[in-house]
């Protein structure tokens, strides 16, 4: 009880402190100069309609490569923490008829929706990370519905490695053509899709990179799910 009272008092102090600190921040006011620059130039510099996507992939593409690396390290770390000599799925109960039938019907559409999200990253809200998470949700549905289901490990590991290398490769091609890492040669040099900004075939290399990120996030999150749902079995 004393602990709880102490916790509430310290929380009130921390809340007061945060509120005081934030009282000087102008909420709801006009934005800063960097954002204004990005918004003014995003269309002719990157060909993307969605400014958030352009910042994540074009202006801060290297940052996103680091982010993908963090996710990869986390997935590897989960695999290393939950490593066992012999493990398999030990789920006891099959999903109910609603779950199994719904899964059979919905899995292709959930995957299609994930692909839609990451292909349209330069036009609509979303992108590689939400799209990949949606695809992982499809595999989670399969895991919940069927006791014996497992993801195809060989294909998943190969895809994960290949798309990781593909991201670096896209960056290196930009280095060769334009002189810096992740140079958007499709937009800057070829001017591909200048006439149809706002339609699917535009946006330079953003759709390519977001497809890569979507596949990588999808395979990695599915791998994390797989590692967490398996248990050790004694011989």
């Amino acid at each position: 009880m004393l602990k709880r009272a102490l916790a509430i008092i310290s929380l009130l102090l921390i809340g007061y402190w945060i509120a005081q600190g934030l009282a000087g921040v102008p909420f709801g006011q006009d934005r800063m100069l960097v954002a204004q620059y990005y918004l003014d130039h995003v269309k002719e510099q990157t060909g993307a309609v969605n400014a958030v996507t352009a910042i994540v992939v074009n202006y801060r593409g290297f940052d996103t490569l680091g982010e993908v690396t963090v996710l990869f390290i986390a997935s590897t770390g989960v695999g290393a923490l939950l490593w066992r000599r012999k493990k398999q799925r030990t789920a006891k109960t099959e999903g109910s008829i609603v779950l199994t039938t719904g899964t059979r019907l919905l899995v292709p559409f959930v995957m299609l929706f994930g692909a839609y999200i990451f292909i349209h990253g330069h036009l609509t809200p979303g992108g590689g990370f939400p799209g990949g998470a949606t695809i992982a949700t499809a595999f989670l549905l399969l895991y919940m519905a069927f006791t014996a289901y497992e993801i195809p490990h060989k294909a998943f590991e190969k895809t994960e490695g290949a798309v990781g290398m593909a991201y670096v490769l896209v960056g290196l091609i930009g280095l060769v053509i334009g002189g810096y890492f992740l140079y958007d040669w499709i937009w800057q040099d070829w001017g591909f899709g200048v006439d149809n900004i706002g339609r699917l075939l535009s946006g330079g290399f953003i759709p390519i990179i977001y497809t890569i990120i979507g596949l990588k996030v999808g395979t990695e999150l599915s791998g994390i799910i797989d590692n967490m749902l398996k248990e050790e079995v004694s011989e």
Partner: protein, 114 residues
Amino acid sequence: MISVYYFGAISLILIGLYAVLVKKNLLKMLIGLSIMETGVNLLLVSVGYVAGRSAPILSEGIGPNQAVDPIPQALVLTAIVIGVATTAMALSVAMILHEKYGTLNVEEIRRLRG
């Protein structure tokens, strides 16, 4: 100028902090950590919000002067992904602890060690 997002974000942070401080179950503490993370993300996004403007997708009559600040949104996109990664790591550590000690209560885990 104080907005409702500001109060929402601070109260989410405090609720999460309360769970981390008071709860004894590891899973509940992790849930508190996630709630705190949501509060911080909401705070960052609301810093970039400009009253009366729309999302930074420059089509259908929305020019550069009718959009909100896109940079906090891009940063929050990064933060969410990192949050998922850390949560997955913490959950697998919790699984190992549960296997080793048979409980998720932090105090009992401490007692077993000593």
